[in-house]
């Protein structure tokens, strides 16, 4: 498949241009501007970005990635800001990807999360990057996964991905994370909303933010009940948690957090979430992000999840799952690009659609026709594979 096509990046060999080689070196040396440039190339899929990722990839794998998701207005950005502040007091550098949907109509977007991340302002130990969806199916999660590679190679101590948990593409985004925090705000309808969005399954930790509101206790109770009803593992979509056993933590979170008292201790105790190495029951924590109440406890709970992952081998497991997801996504997208080019050779999607609409042909025949060459290539690969297999077993 390396014939005439000139500028399709997926066909280019993964060799770096001199300029990009310099860029990679600058990223590894910790230059923020170089990192910013690489992130743009990833977002824009500028020719050669794949080669950059290949070069960066070997320098990755060590940085814990936290995903923070939840409905609009739940207080994610403010919470991320406070988490970051906390990590900074531990002298850890933090990279934040603030992911926002783009308008499907103009492709434009206003990325406003930076506003709520004020405490990081002027601190070069924090790198914040806003990303938008750019209207491409699956493009956002791919770009996010690629951006995490760049941030990881840059050498940050922590990476936080923040995204609205509104649909499948956002759920895909947090697939890249090791630990996922789902932020919920107190009030009516949460349970239904959560179940609908399929967000319950992806949370390793749950946070009821704005916990100084009177409805908070009810929301906490609802969440805990739902977590305890959650299906045990085995389904591919579940997090790395192994379900739970006895629902003996219920009722623990009855009291409201007093927003006026930053030392408030009414958040989950230390040892209740973790049963043993095989099981992680997601804790439900209460925070008031605006005043940072409950944030130290959240940081502690995230650390605990990290330790659980290390201990149980869940980290390897999750990395493997992450690699699988990335592989699949990448493959899917590249195949999509290939099929687009195929369609172009048959006169483009519009004329094909016109022909189908006029009932001159049908979509099935068109696709059969398009897929033909790919299919025969696959069959060839299969026979070759089988032959070399038999050769090997004969020798």
């Amino acid at each position: 498949m390396s014939e005439s096509s000139k500028k399709q990046e997926s066909d280019e060999p993964h060799t770096l241009s001199d300029h990009d080689e310099q860029l990679v070196a600058s990223v590894l040396a910790g230059e923020q501007r170089a990192l910013a440039r690489v992130l743009s190339k990833i977002e824009n899929r500028t020719a050669g970005y794949r080669a950059i990722l290949v070069a960066l990839y070997e320098h990755t794998g060590s940085t814990p990635v936290l995903g923070v998701t939840g409905s609009p207005g739940a207080g994610k950005s403010t919470l991320v800001d406070k988490l970051t502040k906390r990590y900074r007091t531990r002298d850890e550098t933090v990279g934040i990807l603030a992911v926002d949907p783009a308008s499907p109509y103009t492709g434009g977007s206003v990325l406003g999360d930076r506003i709520r991340m004020g405490s990081a302002a002027g601190d070069r130990g924090v790198f914040i990057r806003s990303m938008s969806a750019r209207g491409t199916l699956g493009g956002l999660s791919m770009a996010t996964a690629d951006a995490v590679v760049a941030l990881d190679a840059f050498g940050l101590d922590r990476i936080i991905i923040e995204t609205v948990g509104a649909g499948q593409s956002e759920v895909d985004v947090v697939e890249t994370a090791d630990s996922v925090v789902v932020v919920v705000q107190p009030g009516a309808g949460d349970d239904v909303q959560l179940l609908k969005a399929g967000i319950l399954e992806i949370g390793d930790l749950f946070v009821v933010n704005k916990a100084d509101r009177p409805e908070a206790a009810g929301t906490v109770a609802d969440l805990e009940e739902m977590i305890h009803l959650r299906a045990p593992p085995g389904d591919a979509n579940g997090g790395a948690m192994g379900g739970h056993h006895a629902p003996d933590t219920a009722g623990h979170h009855g009291s409201n957090v007093d927003a006026a008292d930053p030392q408030n201790e009414s958040v989950a105790g230390d040892d209740e979430e973790v049963g043993d190495d095989d099981h992680w029951t997601p804790p439900v924590l209460e925070t008031v992000a605006t005043t940072a109440v409950g944030v130290p406890e959240l940081v502690e709970a995230i650390d605990r999840h990290q330790r659980y992952l290390d201990r149980s081998g869940g980290d390897d497991e999750r990395r493997r799952r992450r690699a699988t997801a990335t592989l699949k996504r990448l493959l899917q997208r590249d195949l999509g690009v290939l099929s687009e080019r195929l369609i172009e050779t048959r006169g483009g999607i519009d004329s094909l659609a016109d022909a189908i609409a006029r009932r001159e042909t049908d979509p099935y025949s068109v696709v059969d026709d398009l897929i033909g060459p790919i299919e025969s290539a696959v069959e060839r690969a299969q026979t070759e594979g089988a032959e070399s297999e038999t050769n090997r077993s004969q020798t």
């Binding site: 990046e9 500028t46 050669g48 206003v110 406003g112 070069r124 990057r129 209207g135 690009v337």
Partner: protein, 151 residues
């Protein structure tokens, strides 16, 4: 560079997707950001990606955001009259980060005639006063946003 509209056609899976990125920034102590918000909205509707800074930003914060977000366009809204001190600090910051050359710097707000030449000499590309039609500003960005033919 025609921004997104073309890319939004069916299945634009992996064509290079280039959206103009803009930082709309409020610097200093003035608290009037209606203008900044209107321009942010207009930029968005034009298909740009807009990062809005929020109010009361220090020049260093704006530089940090512009560098990390790798924006093509920096629009500074300022109504306080402190432009002669704040804008040079932003420009200096961008320069020391190596980001000045390929950032289009625009200023919106009330700038006295006698200060304009001074700001432009320092690197501000254009100054848009009150009453400038939105379309004019959008068109200016389209025509002047740095064309980064990424190597």
């Amino acid at each position: 560079m025609k921004p997104q509209s073309a890319d939004n056609s069916l299945m634009s899976a992996d064509s290079t997707q280039r959206a103009i990125r803009c930082l709309v920034a409020k610097v200093g102590l003035d608290g009037h950001d209606r203008g900044a918000q209107v321009i942010a909205r207009a930029f968005r509707d034009a298909g740009f990606e807009v990062i809005y800074s929020g109010l009361h930003r220090a020049p260093e914060e704006i530089v940090q955001a512009a560098v990390q977000e790798d924006v093509d366009v920096l629009g500074i809204s300022i109504l306080s009259g402190a432009h002669n001190t704040l804008i040079p600090r932003i420009i200096d910051g961008l320069e020391s980060d190596g980001a000045l050359d390929d950032t289009l710097i625009l200023v919106g707000g009330i700038i006295p005639e006698e200060d304009k030449a001074h700001l432009k000499a320092q690197g501000v590309a254009e100054i848009f006063g009150p009453g400038t039609p939105m379309a004019e500003t959008v068109e200016f960005v389209r025509e002047n946003a740095p064309r980064r033919i990424d190597q």
